[in-house]
Every structure is written in structure tokens, then in C-alpha cells.
Symmetry: C6
Subunit: 74 residues, 6 copies
């Protein structure tokens, strides 16, 4: 994997949220390295309410980490 | 995405809870950007007890973050 | 929504646990605002072991937040 | 409900773990107040591996709270 | 139950991880005290990918607690 | 098990993320020690969207721990 995570610091909460999304997707990417397979799966979870909620839960856990890392952008 | 998350600070715990709901929904929105698809899915999870509980779990995780960010509104 | 969450402070751990239950239920309430639908769903999850455990998990996450907010009632 | 949670303080980590179990069960108890229904459900989750793991997850979240409340019994 | 959890302190992170596994299993053990039933269930979750991931999630939550208890073995 | 976890300290957030992945996999490895069985299960979860999201959730919980252990690499 290239150097994709140099820091947890972000300028704004929104950037922090978008970093949390990247972290959530990287967790999937490291587990299933094939982009083709991931693309094939997208329509499965994109149109499933519980799958989308589970994805949002992973983002929430990472956002908790990133927010603490940035002292909540106070 | 527009500038939707300028800060985690809220005046009251209730506003903090409502921000947590926004964060939970944005996690779904970034994962499934199509509002039409999301609208189509609403009746599926809105009438399913476990789906509603999963949604409440995501809100709980975000509320934990927002509450810490606001020093629990002490 | 009315002003239902003025503070996270409670006098005792038990009141804190009961506030966590309120928070968990409000997460469902904001997601499914119709009380009729929620009433219709009650028998579904009330008699399902895993649904009850999932509900207890949401309460546990909120209780973690409320306990920290009250410095663990030390 | 009677006064069942006067404090989060316990003398030992094991007592803290057993308090976490009580909290997890109370989350179910407040959601399904009928002891008869809860007894009826016991054989369902007691003999299901994933149900037991979900129950252990709720205990883990509460134990995290109780451990922090007791400064990890240092 | 015997005195199985005298302390959360461990000499190394690996011992801390193994304590987290013990805690996760004790959560199941307190919920299903019968070793025979637990043995009967082992082949069910041992050969199911999602069951193994759920078990790993419980360990992750307990490891978070044990790591904090040991100030991350700094 | 060999000495696989001497420390939680890592030089960069990315190394911390990769340590979180190792921790998540070790949680599965301790629960199902047979590498043959784990290999047999790989195609099952590798091609299932929700299984991949659950795996990403375990990584997110461990990353939260590792990030705190490294004071967020500030």
C-alpha cells in the first residue's frame, strides 16, 4: 500500500469526517484487495438499508478516533 | 459535498443529539449519494425493528463523540 | 421535538442508566417519528432475543457517554 | 424499578465484570419487562453461538465503562 | 465463579490481548454456564466467517479496555 | 503463540492502521487456530459486502486503541 495515511490531523471536522470514510473504506480494501471484487459488491450494499447503516457505524467509530486526534477542532 | 460540518460545538445536549443524527445520516449519504435510492430504502428500514435499532446504535456512537467534544455541556 | 434533553447530569447511576434508555429510544424516535409504527413493531423485537440484545447494546453505548458526563458519579 | 444501581464502584475487576453483566441484563429487562417472556427466550439465545457473542459484546461495552469508573482498579 | 480476574494489569500487550480473549469468553461463559453446550456450539461459530469476526469484535472492545488500564504499556 | 505483539507503538498512523488489522486478524486466529479452516473461509467473507464491513468495524475499534496508544501521532 502506498503512503496513504501520513497524519490524522485535519483542518476541519468535515475533513475529519471524510478521513473517517477513507479509513472505513481502507479497512475493506486491506481485507479485499481486489478492486474488481469491491466494484462487483457495490450494488449489493448500496441498495441495502442495513448494509448502509453498518457502513455508517464503521465511519462513526473512525470519526470518534479522528475527532479525538484533533481535540474536536476546538 | 457543501460545507455541512463547520464545528462539533452545540449549545445544548439536544442540539448535540441532533448533530449526531446528521452525522449518522451523512455516513449513509456519502456511501449512497443518490437521494432517490435512499428514499426508496426508507420504507424498508423504517418498518423494521432491528434496522431502527442499528440506526440508533450509529447515533449513539456519534453522540458519544459530540458529547465529549462539548465536554458534556457541563 | 420538544426540549427533552436539557442536560446529561443525573443524581445517581440508575438515573443515568434510565437517561441512556431514553437516548436509545429517541434514536429510534427521530428515525421513525410515527408512534403507531413504533407500537406496531414492539411485539416484533420484544419477543426476539437478539433484538433485545441489540437494544441493550445501544443502551450500553449511551450509558458509557452518560457515565463519563457524570464523572462516574464518584 | 427498585434501587438497583447505587454506584459503579466495585472492590475488584471481577466484581466490575459481574456489574457489567447486570447492566447488560438490565438493558434487556427495561426493554422487555416481562420475566416470563425473558425466560421463554433464554433457550433461544443460550444455544446460539452468535447470540452468545452479541451478549458478550454488550458486557464488553459495559465493562469498559465500569473499568474506567474504577480507574481500572489500579 | 472462582477468582479469575484479580487485576487488569499485564506485563506485555500480548498478555493484555490474551486477557481480552479471556474476558470475551467469560462473557459467553457467564451467559451460558454449561460447558457442554458451549462445546456443542464451537463447531458452529468456528467455521463461520461472520461469527469469527463478531468474536474478534468482542476481543477488540475488551482489548481497548485492557490497553487503557495498562496505559498502553508505554 | 509466538511473541507477536511486543508494543502498540508505531512510527506512523499507517503503521498503526496495519497493526490494527493484525490485531483484528489475531482475534480470529486465536478463536479459530486452524489456518486451513481460515483459508477455507476466506472466499466466503471476501465476496460478501456485509462481512467486509464487519471486518472493517473490528479494524476501526483496534485502530481507535492503537491511535490513543500513540497519542494520535501528534
Amino acid at each position: 500500500m502506498s503512503d496513504w495515511l501520513p497524519s490524522l490531523q485535519t483542518a476541519t471536522p468535515q475533513e475529519g469526517f471524510e478521513l473517517a470514510i477513507l479509513l472505513a473504506r481502507k479497512g475493506v480494501g486491506y481485507t479485499q484487495p481486489s478492486e474488481d471484487v469491491r466494484k462487483k459488491l457495490r450494488p449489493v450494499y448500496e441498495e441495502n438499508a442495513d448494509s448502509l447503516t453498518l457502513a455508517s457505524q464503521v465511519i462513526a467509530t473512525h470519526f470518534q478516533t479522528v475527532a479525538a486526534a484533533n481535540n474536536y477542532w476546538k
